[in-house]
């Protein structure tokens, strides 16, 4: 049941990313909804679930990008795994956890994406403009994290979360 909710979450975010947030861009930069959702799921459920969710979500959004299929999948899986590994040491009650994790995870995830995409042949990304885009995207990710974290918490299921 939880994976059905995850599937619905991924499809919904893919639709929003490709139909809505292509218009809601600031300085020609948009948020990465699936990356933020991966961070949220990894925060709720740990490294293993975070990595698998990130891989599936990344593959879904890769279908709509021009970069090689698998770049976002690998990036999101690594971010999900990383957040999952470190989440046990975090203070879970803080209300600022969502934007902080969304922002930092978005920045690190963006850097990993650029690195993997460059290794896959997009060397032109190593320019100053890329850094500016990464920072703007990370701020945007931090803002949308307020909205995405509750949905990710719902999809992860409170009951399962309590027994983790």
């Amino acid at each position: 049941m939880r994976w059905i909710r995850y599937f619905l979450l991924i499809i919904s975010l893919v639709v929003l990313q490709t139909a809505l947030f292509t218009s809601l861009r600031v300085f020609d930069t948009g948020p990465d909804l699936l990356l933020v959702a991966t961070i949220a799921v990894a925060y709720e459920r740990g490294a293993e679930t975070g990595a698998v969710f990130g891989f599936v979500g990344g593959l879904a959004i890769d279908c709509f990008l021009s970069s090689p299929l698998g770049v976002s999948a690998l990036t999101f899986a690594l971010v999900g795994y990383g957040v999952g590994v470190f989440q046990s040491g975090l203070i879970r009650s803080s209300r600022w956890m969502a934007p902080v994790l969304g922002g930092i995870g978005g920045l690190v995830g963006g850097m990993i994406w650029v690195l993997i995409a460059a290794l896959a042949g997009q060397e032109d990304l190593f320019v100053v403009g890329t850094l500016r885009t990464l920072v703007i995207a990370a701020v945007y990710d931090a803002l949308v994290a307020f909205l995405i974290f509750p949905f990710a918490r719902w999809a992860s299921g409170d009951h399962d979360f309590a027994h983790r």
């Binding site: 490709t18 292509t22 990595a51 970069s67 299929l69 899986a77």
Partner: protein
């Protein structure tokens, strides 16, 4: 004990994900047809939902657009008014020359952009990612849009179709780092290639035929249209806005600005290039499928 079991399970999963991802990247880079089919199927499957969501949130997008872009509109208006008056004068001066030119091309039977038919399509979205400059069109292969078609708008060249599913097409814009356009300059007639730069709006002119040629700011840049070119000849592409000649360096840095406002497109035309029939009996109108 439980922690140990979880840790030992994690490693095979992350290893499997890494291997699968790398395999997919390699296959896609190699142009695997199965991956292209999967991509197209996903795009076609989600297209109706995208349409509904896009229409539903259209007012939100418009308000957002107004808030984020209102500051630049006054400046842009003033610049455009000045440009219109300049261009009106220029058009009058060149009208006579243009008539001679079209008579000669007709006599020599040289195909140009006027001979090219095309498919008019609506722009329904921008890029889903932050590191690509693309547009999504509301038509695909079922309406005759195929990979490789040049895309133009009223002011000039927009880009090229780089992916097309049955119902959608992806256009890579001319300011994308991955897309070079063979061009010639207006007055000096030097050939060069435009080069987009990640996160930058201005294109750089590379591989200039004669780097010492007198290229001036304000000069227009057109598609070169050499034999076998991907674009029809003489389509306006950009205007030279900045020339940086550093002492001791042979090649100047020449930057051009696309003539088309690539962020405000609503309708574009995909050109059937090279034209299948350039005879007078052939369809030379602006067909809109």
């Amino acid at each position: 004990m439980a922690v140990y079991r979880r840790e030992s399970r994690r490693r095979p999963i992350i290893a499997l994900i890494v291997i699968t991802s790398l395999a997919l990247i390699s296959l896609d880079r190699g142009g695997n047809g199965v991956i292209a089919t999967v991509r197209h199927t996903a795009r076609d499957a989600i297209a109706p939902v995208q349409g509904v969501v896009s229409d539903a949130f259209n007012p939100v997008s418009n308000v957002f657009d107004g808030v984020t872009k209102v500051h630049g509109l006054e400046d842009e208006n003033a610049k455009l008014r000045s440009r219109v008056s300049t261009l009106e004068g220029k058009l009058s001066r060149e009208r006579g020359v243009g008539e001679e030119y079209s008579q000669i091309t007709r006599l020599l039977d040289i195909p140009d952009v006027e001979d090219v038919t095309g498919v008019v399509a609506r722009v329904i979205g921008g890029p889903a990612g932050n590191f690509e400059r693309t547009l999504t069109l509301n038509k695909g292969t079922s309406k005759g849009i195929v990979i490789g078609m040049p895309i133009v708008a009223g002011d000039g060249l927009v880009g090229k179709v780089t992916d097309a599913s049955r119902t959608r097409a992806t256009v890579t814009l001319i300011d994308s780092p991955g897309l070079g356009v063979g061009v010639r300059t207006e007055k000096s007639r030097e050939q060069a290639v435009t080069q987009g730069r990640s996160g930058e709006k201005l294109l750089r002119l590379s591989f200039i035929g004669n780097p010492r040629a007198e290229i001036a700011e304000g000069e227009l840049v057109f598609t070169a249209g050499v034999e076998g070119a991907a674009y029809p000849p003489d389509v306006p592409v950009a205007r030279v806005v900045k020339i940086d000649r550093q002492r001791g360096v042979l090649d100047p840095d020449i930057f051009v600005e696309p003539l088309v406002d690539l962020d405000k497109l609503i309708f574009v035309k995909a050109l059937r290039w090279p034209p299948r029939d350039t005879s007078p009996a052939g369809d030379s109108g602006t067909s809109g499928n």
